[in-house]
Symmetry: D2
Subunit: 268 residues, 4 copies
């Protein structure tokens, strides 16, 4: 593997930097309506979580599944930015929306299915927005780092890697969270790495242990699915945490997190 870009720049998002703490992102699987999103934002404000996950477009396996609210979802993102001082993370699926994302979205997510969508990588490489690059569920660590390299080589160095589980023969979990990959990439690159335990687990009772495992392995943050009432979620309802469970998990993260030695692992 020949990675040409050796990255060593701080990523700052609003008041946040990875040196100050863990990047905790939370939000529903998809934007359902304004009320739901405002509820989530108020909750996150109370919990002092500065990052909201807010998906207007959902890449879905079947063309007959709910595909996200689309344009009216983007309108809700606008209203969120007008009413809350929260950083919005949103997945881009079509470069035609890029202007909107530039204006209203704080961190652009490249989803697992688009990790090797090189046109998206090259286009986002030309923006100055922080990017969360999810590892594809069928992609190797090498391919993941090379996908990051597409962004870096195009000029955007604000790349945050996100491990979200890989596809294995094991059928009892949705995917297998590859904590070894989190630890390994930190020996190769200085890019921050976060984890998405919700998608890896596919069931809410495994989200807390996988979150702690990812952080223990050296992750710089986690992205968690939460919902005001998980059983009413339009998609992925099995894996979303309710507010109360999220608050409990947050307390554990705050107690244990500072004890993990991200820096030591980071520069070996």
């Amino acid at each position: 593997m020949k990675l040409v870009k050796t990255f060593d720049k701080k990523i700052e998002i609003g008041d946040f930097s990875f040196e100050k703490g863990l990047m905790i992102i939370a939000g529903p699987c998809s934007i359902e309506n304004q009320e739901q999103m405002f509820q989530v934002c108020s909750f996150l404000e109370r919990e002092k979580i500065p990052f909201l996950r807010a998906a207007a477009y959902k890449p879905r396996t079947s063309p007959y599944s709910f595909q996200g609210l689309g344009t009216s979802g983007l309108e809700i993102i606008k209203k969120i930015k007008q009413n809350f001082s929260i950083q919005v993370i949103s997945e881009i699926v079509d470069l035609e929306h890029l202007n909107f994302y530039r204006q209203y979205v704080d961190v652009i997510q490249i989803g697992a299915r688009n990790m090797q969508n090189f046109e998206i990588l090259k286009a986002l490489g030309k923006t100055d927005k922080p990017i969360i690059l999810k590892r594809g569920f069928g992609n190797t660590i090498e391919e993941w780092l090379y996908a990051a390299e597409y962004l870096l080589a195009s000029g955007n160095e604000k790349v945050i890697l996100c491990e979200r589980g890989i596809r294995t023969f094991e059928p009892m979990t949705r995917n297998t969270l590859d904590v070894g990959a989190i630890a390994l990439v930190k020996t190769i690159t200085k890019l921050p790495v976060i984890a998405d335990p919700s998608h890896a687990a596919g069931r809410h009772d495994l989200v807390a242990p996988l979150t702690l495992a990812a952080l223990a392995a050296g992750a710089d943050g986690v992205m968690l699915e939460i919902h005001p009432s998980p059983s009413q979620s339009v998609s992925d309802r099995e894996q979303a945490l309710g507010f109360e469970d999220f608050s409990k998990l947050l307390k554990k993260i705050q107690t244990i997190g500072p004890l993990f030695t991200r820096d030591i692992i980071h520069s070996p």
Copy 2:
């Protein structure tokens, strides 16, 4: 799995139809120059192979690898169409090229990495070009059929599935050709299914046995990498067949192929 579109329409490409015979596609990994392509076209004419694989754009894992000739590759495709009466198959990686593909390319390929690039699927679903939809190396059969469904639901029923090997724990072959998938999809859909043994094998000495295995499992055709002098190939040189080896394999296909009972498997 709920597939709404039950497909039962004949796909005709030039003089070819799947009822008349196997779809044999051959060509180099990528367009290198006009001379190379004209050599291949003349050879295919002599062998009465009506389908040329001709890639101007190559999605590559690393941004530092050869990415295809790009625009000048498209120019070469134009010249091929002016000088030979061969059907050109070419992979699309960017919807900005769609107009060119509509005019000069006979069958548009969606590569493994773009199988779940839903924007490409939806856009090509609105054309009337035959589409070869490769299975992603990390994708299930269900996801592959749903990707086809994106094309069908958008109005394009000329979909040809292509199995090209999946990623497994076995390191001695590049990928594992899933011949069971070829047989299985024929019990679910009436779409034709071809195979790409070259990419699955990753080494030329396995291409012949995998080609015969795919046809024996019920494949309606194969796509094969050939090169005037494989050792000079710019990319994937280990898996390309020379002209002589290709001619030998073709004789085996012509002897054995008609004995495989595609129809019986097809409509059980």
Copy 3:
């Protein structure tokens, strides 16, 4: 990979040798009673199939599943040998039964779960019985060849490899038959390789195409599950062929089989 034993000896089993034809083995998943087995033997005699699959012991995932008839199954094997001139293949699970197998069983099978049971390998390496060594569903080609090497290095050179599918992320088939492995091992070793399409497929409608695919890839034979009335089978009923379906498949094998060039692939 350093394989010390380069094998080049003919394996003869009764009147059979791999140079004369394909090794076709058939029989039920397990011995259920004498009547069932005699029915199968008479059928195989009529079809001129000289090899019977007859399992008295079944290694089962759950301790609460049917584990085979055990000792009374061995008694039925004795009676088969007294009444039919058929070669019996049977899996050994416990070295305490080895004396019986030496006396009444013609070909001893080492099952997928025992491929790396090195005590069994070393003990069978000291017998002169032909051995069918199944590839473990989680084992690489390298491990499979080294397991064979345990037999060869202990002195038994009558080793027949058997590919039976590997475990992958694909959930729609029981396992993924690795036809590339069949072709590949023939470039490395001169040991014969057969396939077990029934266990790979896990469903009877895929058995015929997978059988033909394995032979097309160069397999020297196949082991097939058949049952007088598949729906009554005590175990693995989904994948057993009835007598009529087996006879149809046999005709295809007899027509197409001789056209596959095992020898050419064998010595490249």
Copy 4:
């Protein structure tokens, strides 16, 4: 999955019980000589680690690799028990050694390759020794729990599960440590679960993060490879920790370990 035995008995080994703390096991990949083992035992005494990993027999992929010291390794185990008050964990590969293990070994390990060696499972099920049952690298969680059920159903309820990584398409780590499996089995069974990060990682720089990740996911302990001078280790030298690195890791475990809420996960 129908697990008949619902286990709820405390496992006590010497002064240790899982209620009092984490089970930390350390030792070399294999017994090399008495001096090496005595060095390790003295070190573990100083660190107050009561469990020694001591393998006399090594199941090896190739028959030409070092297979362990065998009988003279067993002699060294005897001397360890005479000179140190340490609990010895040793893998059994042949039931002929069972008498020795009953007398001198405190915890018997069933290795990954023997997880579905049902004869060993049934025989050990009839002893009253605590058993560490490693998950096979190609086995599902369901198969692992059923293998445990073979032990439980035979009468031995002192079963400790051990996750050691599964085989996936990722080539940069030896195996993929399945931390989700650790968390998941705790929702199904009350058996203790430990992890073997050394074998999963295959490289020493990932052992510390994987150890912490396993504990964070709820593991009740870890088994770690250590060696007086790792670069001199006869086998698996890339993954062994030196004494100093082990001591550093131990301090992290002692600081962070008590904060993980094994019990809460345990009884949800």
